[in-house]
Symmetry: C2
Subunit: 257 residues, 2 copies
Amino acid sequence: MPKPLSFHPPETAHLPPLSLDALRNRCSACSMHELCLPMGLGEADMDRLDAIIGRRRKIPKDTLLYRVGDTFTNLYAIRLGHFKTFQITQGGDQQVTGFQMSGELLGMDAISTDLHHCNAVALEDSEVCEIPFTRLESLFGDIPPLLRHFHRMMSQEITREQSIMLLLGNMRADQRFAAFLVNLSSRYAARGYSPTSFQLRMGREEIGNYLGLTIESISRLLSKFKKQRLLKVSNRAIEIPDLALLKEVAAGTCTCD
Amino acid sequence: MPKPLSFHPPETAHLPPLSLDALRNRCSACSMHELCLPMGLGEADMDRLDAIIGRRRKIPKDTLLYRVGDTFTNLYAIRLGHFKTFQITQGGDQQVTGFQMSGELLGMDAISTDLHHCNAVALEDSEVCEIPFTRLESLFGDIPPLLRHFHRMMSQEITREQSIMLLLGNMRADQRFAAFLVNLSSRYAARGYSPTSFQLRMGREEIGNYLGLTIESISRLLSKFKKQRLLKVSNRAIEIPDLALLKEVAAGTCTCD
DNA sequence: CGTTCTTTTGATGATGCTCAACTGGGGTGG
DNA sequence: CCACCCCAGTTGAGCATCATCAAAAGAACG
C-alpha cells in the first residue's frame, strides 16, 4: 500500500451556493459542456439539467470519490482534473480499470446493481459535478437528446473497454504503451490541449498496472522510446515528436525496432 | 482464417409472421423474458415492447449477425443459442471480446457512433429478436421500467468488461481459465441449466483468444485440471465436480497446485 | 539537506508462446 | 464398410518476453 487514501466525506461543509457561484457553475459556463453530458442541448434544456445537478465538489489529490460497495446515488462529471478507477483483487492488489479526465463521466458501472464496483480516486486536485441519478432519470423522458447522449456515453465506455481488452489480450508491451500514449494524446486534443506535449497525471506504477505490465517494464519502455527518439521524456512530461510514428508502433506495423 | 463465414442477408425471405407465430414469438411466451430486456415489465408494457420488435431471425451456425462498420439500426436479443463477438486487429488476427447466450443483448457498443465496432457470429444455430433502436428509444419515455432495465443491462456490460480487464491484466493462465468456467457456470445456472455440467459452445482456440492465451495453453490447462480432478472433460463436455474449489483456483487462493 | 518515495537499471528466472509432431473423431467417398 | 482425409485438439521441446529481485539514482517534501 503506497499511500494512505483519505476519504472525502459525503457531506461537505459548503453552504448552499451563492447565486454568483450558481451562475459560474452552470453547465453552459463550463468549458466541458461540448464533451460532457449536456452536449448538444439547447439553452433551455441545459438549464433544466443544471437544476438537478447537485453540488460541485472539490476533490483533493489522492482522495477517494467513491469506493467499492458504496451505494450508488450519483454519477460524477469531471469538471477539472484527473481520476483513476481501480478494483481490488482477492490477492489484495489493485487493477486500474481506467484514467478519466475532464468532461468524462464516472460511476456508470454502478447502475446495474446500485453499488459501486470500483474505487475512484483523484490523481490531482479536481472538481466534479454530482449528478443524482434518479433525478437524471426523471429528465430523460422530457429531454430525448439528453437520453440519447447519455446512451452514447455509456456505449462509448463499452467500446473503450473493448479496446483495452484487445490491448491486454493481443498486444506486446511496447504496443500497449504506445497505444496508451496515443489514446491520451487524442483525448487531450479533443479538449483543446496539445496532442504532442502533455504531463502524465499518473505514476509509472499506475500506468503499468493499467496496461498489465510492471513499473519496471514501463520504465524500460520509456527509456527505449527515448533512445529511439519516439518520445522526449522528463519525469512526467511527455513530448511526442512524431505522432504518426507512435501510432505505427501501437499498431505493430513499425519498421523501426 | 479457419473457416469462411457466410453473411446473413439483411432481408430474409420470410413472409410476414402468421398470427400464430406472432403469439408464439411474444416476449411473454419467451423463456428468457425474466433475464432479457422485458424483465420486470407488466403485461401491457410487454405487449408494447413486442409491438416494436422486428423479425425473429434464425441465424445459422457460423453466420455473421453483423460486422464491423455496419450501420447500427438494431440491437439483438438472443432468444436461443450462443454468439461470440470479436474485433480484428491491424495485424489481421481476431480478438474475441465476449461470448453471449440467450437473454443477452448484442450491439450496445454500436450506439456511440451508429456503427458496429465488432463482429458477431453465431456459435451454433441460433435465434435473435431484432430490436430497432430508434423505436426502442421512442418507448423509453413511456415505459420508465424499460429504460431502467436497459440502463442496467448496459451497465452490466461495462462491469463484465471490467472484470475481463482484471482477468487479463492480473491473473495467471490457470486463474483465467478457471474464472472463465466459473462465469459460464453461473450464467447457465441463471438460465436454469446445470451449473456443473455443460457443453462448451466455442472451440479451444476461441477460449484462448478471449483469455489472452493460446490454444495450446488452454489444452494444457484442461489436461492439468483433469489430472487434478478439478474437471471432467470429454471433448467440449465439461463437468465440474467441485465448483467451490474451482472458484478458489480462479481466486488464486487454492492450496492445491 | 536529510528522508522518503519514485524511477531507473541490471541480472536472473518463470510463465506462457512458438514451432512441430502426433492423436483422435467425424464426415466423405470409393 | 472401410479407408481416407481433415480439422480440432493434445503433447513435447526450446525459446522469448516480461516479471521478479536487488540496488542505486533521482525527485519531492518538509
